[in-house]
């Protein structure tokens, strides 16, 4: 299964959030969407998940326009994990993960052994099995994030869109979740995540989509997309690079003067830093 989006534009409150973005997600791919704050990453993911309609442009899921898919079919095809996701009632962890099976349930909602297997596998992958009997309000931020990721994995959808799934995690679990998501992609799913950590994107992802001010600056393998010029243009930072055991790494090191940085249209950022 694959998602293809062409010419996506979105305007909210007179502010252009996305401006003609083309992007695709294919089976077996692990893609990171990166870019500075306010670049439109989360909005892009919501559009791709079918949670909002673009003002212009089209999204197709295996050639079928996303808006034409019945909601339950869409839910079984595309799993989505929202940014800063919350759990509003202190439900048990295993029941939260089980919510991911709702799109697969019949009208009477009885759980099947396939549901139980999907739930167990998702909890195994996110190392949340030991948390199964805990109440949501006793979890730490990082534990909650992993439980919610397990919920999204439990859907068993061929496409997974996750908005900052590692934001609240310690380094150990960041590496673990990235490896889990890469493994999910290796098993045939298309996985797209919003990410701020360029080092993780470089190391784990097959492809990086660099957004800035609602436009797609580059889309390709991490080594090509995250070059010095583009990082300076998008983030106004200078980076250190190296490689360890054949794997490249990247570390943001110094801020650059924001002149020449692509910013959203309403801000006047053209003055050099020294004169302010």
């Amino acid at each position: 299964m694959r998602l293809d989006a062409r010419g996506l534009s979105l305007t909210r409150g007179g502010h252009r959030i996305l401006d003609g973005v083309d992007v695709a997600l294919r089976a077996g791919e692990f893609v990171a969407v990166v870019g500075p704050n306010g670049a439109g990453k989360s909005s892009l993911l919501r559009l791709l998940a079918g949670l909002a309609r673009p003002d212009a442009g089209e999204i197709a899921c295996d050639g079928v326009p996303l808006g034409k898919l019945p909601p339950r079919t869409r839910a079984r095809s595309i799993a989505y994990l929202e940014q800063r996701a919350a759990v509003h009632w202190p439900m048990r962890v295993d029941e939260i993960v089980a919510l991911g099976r709702l799109p697969s349930r019949g009208p009477l909602g009885a759980a099947t052994s396939a549901d139980a297997a999907a739930i167990a596998a998702a909890m195994e992958m996110t190392t949340t099995t030991a948390l199964a009997g805990r109440r949501a309000d006793t979890l730490s931020g990082g534990e909650r994030m992993r439980v919610l990721l397990a919920r999204a994995l439990a859907v068993g959808a061929p496409l997974l869109l996750a908005d900052e799934p590692v934001a609240a995690l310690d380094p150990h679990h960041q590496l673990h979740v990235m490896a889990t998501l890469r493994e999910t992609a290796r098993r045939g799913a298309g996985v797209m995540i919003v990410l701020h950590d360029l080092a993780l994107a470089t190391r784990f992802c097959d492809r990086v989509v660099l957004l800035a001010a609602g436009r797609c600056l580059a889309d390709g393998p991490p080594a090509e997309v995250l070059d010095d010029r583009r990082l300076a243009e998008a983030y106004a930072v200078d980076v250190l690079r190296g490689s360890e055991g054949g794997e490249p790494w990247i570390l943001p090191w110094r801020r650059l003067a924001p002149a020449g940085v692509v910013r959203t249209g309403r801000d006047d950022q053209s003055k050099p830093e020294e004169t302010r």
Binding site: L51, A85, A98, L99, G100, A110, R135
Partner: protein
Amino acid sequence: MSIVRPRPIVPGDRRARRLSLWLALATLLLLIVSIGIGYAPLDIFKALQDGLAGRDSLESIVLVELRLPRALLGALVGFALGLTGAAMQGLLRNPLADPGVLGVSAAAAFGAVLAFYSGLSLLVPLALPLGGLAGALVATGLVYGIAGRGAGTMALILAGVALSSLCGALTALALNLSPNPYAAIEIIYWLMGSLADRSLDHVWLVLGPIALGTALILSTAPALDALTLGEDSAASLGFDLARLRLKLVVGAALVVGSAVAVSGAIGFIGLVVPHLVRPLTGHRPGRLLLPSGLAGAVLLLGADILVRLLPVRPELKLGVVTALIGAPFLFWLIWRLRRTG
């Protein structure tokens, strides 16, 4: 030949089913107690025999015209309030939401007061509850008209608050303009909520709307479960939130509108009962609906039995008693929220 595979049942579902069963039994028991309790001694068996044989003895009239409607309405109104309270708390993801949060209760009360005030209730026997139901349905239309078809939850709440204030003001205006103090006192007493002196006609009138509204509300259980994760996540799980809101608003109007139309304003049941039952259902909002309705029936039947057992005459209004029990519970809830939050 097919192999029957055992279906794994989530233990929480089984516990909730058992809870519903116990609560249903308790409701049945209290129904019988409620029928057995009254101001005049009643030989239930003679009343039943006469009633079933169609003999209009005093006993059978007391049973059919007084005791039975009162008990049945107690169960229906309590169920309506408990169910809708749980549904509204689930929809708004807020433990302080009550059945009237969308303005339906205030509108139903105003509709009934209007029937009172216009004198219609003297001409048409069921004008009062009909006026209440009409008020609730008009209110739903208004809430939806104000908030719009694709309205977010916040717009719905604001529309409900605005509508409640407006209906409260109009009810006060009706009192202010009432032709004589007795009419005003009668309206005030009715607003306090009671199940006394209702007939089986009241039961038949609200049975349909409550059944329909209950079906609508219960059908939203999976969506309410999903909403625990937030609106975007619920939508990503295939639930249409605009349709969910429409179902719940119409369901609440039918169920709560009916309840207020026949009993007046009975507060706190819809707010308090979901909290009592929620921990027993694993805090899962969809699974909470049915047990919360049944617990509402148990609590209201219990309160209505209490007002008849208390040595206070004329009997205390039911709405007064539920508020007196419910308000301290709310204090306790806030105290607990403060401790955990």
